[in-house]
Symmetry: C2
Subunit: 252 residues, 2 copies
């Protein structure tokens, strides 16, 4: 089992869109895949149609139920999701006073390890305890970065956090790479930001995710892009990215 | 002095863009205006060119310096900013254990009340203690909502939080309204979301902020839109929104 945390404290950069669509592309290739929704907004949960589940990550994190009971199958073969809810905010506060508080998610995942080949953890726009749990549980971190100026600014803080987690919490964590998202080739801003990513951060993925209206429509239909618009540029890009990710994981 | 919190826990919906550009439009109209950057990402700080300031909100919140010493003038007459920094995360954790922890910002603002007619507080993508401080200090809250499906989902949680603050923390807080942002008239999604906002939330502002590349370029030049592209649709929209906001504040 490989575990990948999708993280970036900057808001709205495409974390959920990346976690959900990478997972769907991975399942389409026949890999048993799990999405962990580690964000109280529960966007990954609704993007995969699991918003009516009764047990959630809140229950697993506070030990009310084993993680495997909180996992639901989605409509797409080989793709499961551990749904979230707004009370994850309360769970995070509760965990803050516990010993080993960064390792709670990591130990929960041991319970389901034999059943999945890939686990993708969708983090919220924060570097708080839930994101730390995701990074401590992960073999690798990937950071979507919107091709906008303000998103570039936050990158240093994110890379610094990953370094700190590697030093103090989980030395086995790798930065798998950053992903340029919402790239609009017609604008100089997108071109500049994507070029800066490639030149400053050697692990930048080759695949660039284009800005595409189909990608932003898909969650309102609660379907991943490979189902909502299978031949679209967005679907192609996430299939390509899934291939690149799996190659980088295999090389770890 | 009127204090307005710009809040929404959904990431990337245009909180910083709205706080910065509303403030600049208000100063352009001759109102002495202050932006408080209450987000550790410090995007409002850099969008106004104040990233090299020495004292920050961290210092004021922990009582190391009075708020008035942490405020810097910007290049635009009548517009000041209280800059933020990444260590605001640490300040938030430190405040969590104090009595009256939600009211720290509110009491700090009393110190500068005579000098400003309008204060805009830029909140980060969270409903944590800093955002609570902003709501407890505010006469009104405004919520930018991106014209996308996932942004609509988070609205219930935000309105619920505002109600709870009104009941338990600050009964004088008003929801001034939600603002449709990044509206792209060519897409059905934008039209649907904007229409849903107007029909479900009576306080939705009439002004709609269009998606405009000039708006996303302006922060990389560290200038508000009314200076970077004064005749653009983005500048016009924020001037119009500033007028609408001031009318709503006057009617409180
Ligand atoms: N490549 C893309 N093209 C067009 N729209 C996109 C793309 N990727 C994401 N979006 C849309 O942009 C918005 C932000 O994306 P998303 O919610 O995935 O970001 P996030 O980083 O998970 O946000 P948060 O910080 O709130 O968790 C959503 O409405 C989404 O549908
Ligand atoms: N109307 C608009 N048209 C085009 N781009 C916009 C518009 N408003 C904001 N942007 C861009 O979209 C991105 C997100 O906006 P912004 O950073 O203001 O959102 P935010 O809600 O403050 O994000 P966070 O949740 O991280 O604090 C930025 O890169 C910004 O420049
Ligand atoms: Mg998300
Ligand atoms: Mg912001």
């Amino acid at each position: 089992m490989s575990v990948v945390a999708v993280a970036n404290q900057k808001g709205g950069v495409g974390k959920t869109t990346t976690a959900v669509n990478l997972a769907a592309a991975s399942a389409e290739m026949g890999r048993r895949t799990l999405v962990i929704d580690a964000d109280a907004q529960a966007n990954a949960t609704s993007a995969l149609g699991a918003q009516h589940a009764s047990l959630r990550m809140f229950d697993a994190l506070l030990g009310e139920a084993p993680l495997r009971d909180c996992i639901v199958a989605t409509s797409w073969p080989g793709l499961d999701v551990a749904p979230s809810s707004m009370d994850l905010v309360a769970a995070e506060m509760e965990l803050a006073s516990r010993p080993e508080r960064e390792y709670v998610l990591r130990s929960l995942l041991l319970d389901v390890a034999p059943q999945y080949e890939l686990v993708l953890i969708d983090c919220g726009p924060s570097l708080g305890l839930m994101t730390l749990n995701a990074l401590a549980a992960a073999d690798g971190a990937i950071a979507p970065v919107q091709c906008e100026y303000l998103a570039l600014e936050g990158l240093t803080a994110l890379l610094e956090t990953i370094r700190r987690v590697q030093t103090h919490v989980h030395p086995g964590l790798h930065l798998l790479g950053v992903i340029a998202t919402m790239y609009d080739g017609r604008t100089r801003l997108s071109q500049d930001v994507a070029a800066q990513l490639k030149s400053h951060i050697s692990s930048t993925f080759d695949t660039i995710i284009p800005r595409s209206i189909r990608l932003s429509e898909a969650p309102s239909h609660q379907r991943p892009i490979i189902d909502y618009a299978p031949a679209s540029r967005g679907a192609e890009a996430y299939r390509e990215l899934a291939g690149e990710l799996l190659r980088r994981l295999a090389a770890l």
